[in-house]
Symmetry: C2
Subunit: 368 residues, 2 copies
């Protein structure tokens, strides 16, 4: 059984599938990718059982075969082949895959496909078409705020919500929240689903800049399935009730600060040099007279710096974790941002100058 | 005591000095850099006691002071300052250094300079002027071959030898050797000195592309002192007799292989995917009919690839450590290289097509 294909296409498909492959597993078969051949295409599948990535490429195959190749080794070999033309041959008796390219020959020991976990899917209950770039943007701007600790259950997931003409993602952990809205072109029936942030992040890595402009999303059997660029990504959804995020964001602010985002980022970066992890990376804001003074202090020294702002309302002294502040500010594209605060224990809310595209929230750290 | 200087110049000098500063030391003072001010310059010194780097920069100082600032923190702050203008002030009573730049203010806790190790040097016994780029090239092309294991004593050093119109560096460990010659413009009295490879590598990192064209080298008190770009680097030399390298390189070759270097590098790179550390990263060369077949084998699979060569003499099967091969080939600039071999236990020698600028030697691995 021979397969002829293009090296770059094979490498791209392999690297997509590998996103779902655990680097270490108790089962050798999960460290592999499933290769399935049809007459004129090849499908490469990787999974850690939570996430399945199936990536297709054009190939001339003179037969049907399926086998599991060791993922990391296979990708490493393909990435370094001397020529764009690749000829592969699978020997199902010896379970050996031969790879030829130019004057290079290699044999790789493979596994039977029988033990590889394959998902049988029913018909989708819901199917929607989204802008591919929007999906990538939504993930990048929210998923970092989900809890990284499995103990927090559903908060390790991102709420994906369709309604009011928006596709919205929401992520919350104990200290901050991210909400981002992308307007939908077509009206779609409202729905909600929670998807693990870790898997969404992995998927966003394989959403390429070129290829399709849209992404199809299907909901089926408690799974969310995404189709784009010849790739199918199946993610588990999470059960349980997501937090009522709208209740959290109702803060009657008494201090509003309009600020140049990049200037604030650079200043917090300088402040972070003199903060200590044991002290929650604390930086202090002192807001008065249209100036925001940032200060930090640890046992090696201290710093302070003043930034011009447009201040509305009362003066305020408030402390934050510099890392959380930076993650929020770096995910904002606008040049300016408005911070809404009340006192040094109430959350600080980040919003754009106009509109409601995003909302970030950071809990302050109590200043001693 | 106030110091005015330029941020970029200060940052460059600091980063030079930091090359010699241990990232962790039992003594806090060694994790710092010594700052000395004169009327119109500032000298920054870092040392791990084996190596001393003193870097100068222009500065307007209204007094003389010396103190020790924590190196990593100080460099981190300077690198991120908002403006090119830096004003510093040292308070010798509080032992605090204030740093100002734009609207940024910082205070850093410093140490007394009294405990900082300062070397008093005698008059140099020898002083020579070398091409700066040549010195950097010599280090890059040889020092990697020195032994990394302190147990090997003088073999952790690089022999620097002046004679026959060349500045030569030689590095040897148990498995390979590197010799590189740079022609000297002026005739200089012959001498030999052995300098630790680790320190030479650190020094080569601070030899900049611009600045001076030459480097002055002085020998004094069993130290080698290098002057370039306003920086002075003092390195300990090593006592003891260096190996008689000329004796090793006398191999009567019976097989000569002329090869495209980059093609060989790419092929060994592909072979390395299927070699194992426990097996000394072994790759095999099979030389016959003007072809070099490279092969490798581990428990995941195997590979082989043929490269066209110009062969003189007998056919040969010989094994090598792929890592050592790569390090040697990557330090060669020529497009083609000639390998001289005798049998599968005698060393393989790498030489240019013409001339004697370099000689590398690799011991084969016995093929089972």
């Amino acid at each position: 059984m021979k397969i002829y294909c293009n090296k770059s296409e094979l490498y791209r498909a392999l690297n997509n599938a590998i996103q779902a492959v655990p680097s270490r597993s108790t089962s050798k078969i999960l460290e592999g990718v499933l290769i399935e051949t049809k007459e004129d295409e090849m499908i490469i599948t990787g999974t850690d059982t939570f996430m399945v990535v199936e990536s297709k490429l054009s190939a001339k195959c003179d037969g049907i075969a399926d086998f599991v190749a060791p993922a990391a080794l296979f990708a490493n070999i393909i990435g370094k082949l001397p020529s764009e033309d690749v000829m592969m041959e699978y020997d199902s008796v010896k379970k050996v895959l031969s790879i030829q390219s130019g004057r290079y020959r290699s044999e790789v020991i493979c596994f039977d496909s029988t033990e590889f976990p394959k998902v049988q899917m029913k018909e989708p209950q819901k199917s929607i078409t989204l802008n591919k770039e929007s999906v990538r943007k939504l993930i990048r701007k929210t998923a970092f705020s989900a809890s990284a600790d499995e103990i927090n259950g559903i908060l390790t997931g991102v709420l994906c919500e369709i309604g009011d003409g928006n596709f919205r993602m929401v992520a919350v952990d104990a200290f901050r929240m991210a909400i981002y809205n992308e307007p939908l072109e077509d009206s779609i029936d409202a729905f909600k689903v929670v998807i693990p942030a870790k898997q969404l992040n992995k998927m966003s890595k394989i959403i390429s800049d070129d290829g399709d402009e849209t992404i199809r999303m299907e909901l089926v059997d408690e799974k969310a399935v995404f189709f784009f660029d010849g790739t199918k990504v199946t993610l588990n959804t999470m059960n349980g009730r997501y937090i009522d995020y709208k209740r959290i964001i109702k803060v009657d602010s008494t201090t509003e600060v309009r600020i140049q985002k990049d200037e604030l980022i650079r200043s917090i970066d300088r402040a972070s040099i003199l903060t200590q992890k044991e002290n929650n990376n604390m930086i202090k804001f002192d807001i008065q007279d249209d100036l925001l003074e940032i200060s930090a202090l640890d046992n090696q020294g201290n710093m302070n710096e003043k930034i011009e702002i447009i201040q509305k309302g009362e003066d305020l002294k408030i402390g934050f974790n510099s890392r959380y502040m930076m993650e929020i500010l770096r995910s904002i594209d606008d040049e300016e941002v408005v911070l809404y605060m009340r006192d040094n224990v109430s959350p600080c809310i980040f919003r754009p100058l106009q509109g409601e595209r995003y909302l970030y929230l950071a809990l302050p750290i109590r200043i001693n």
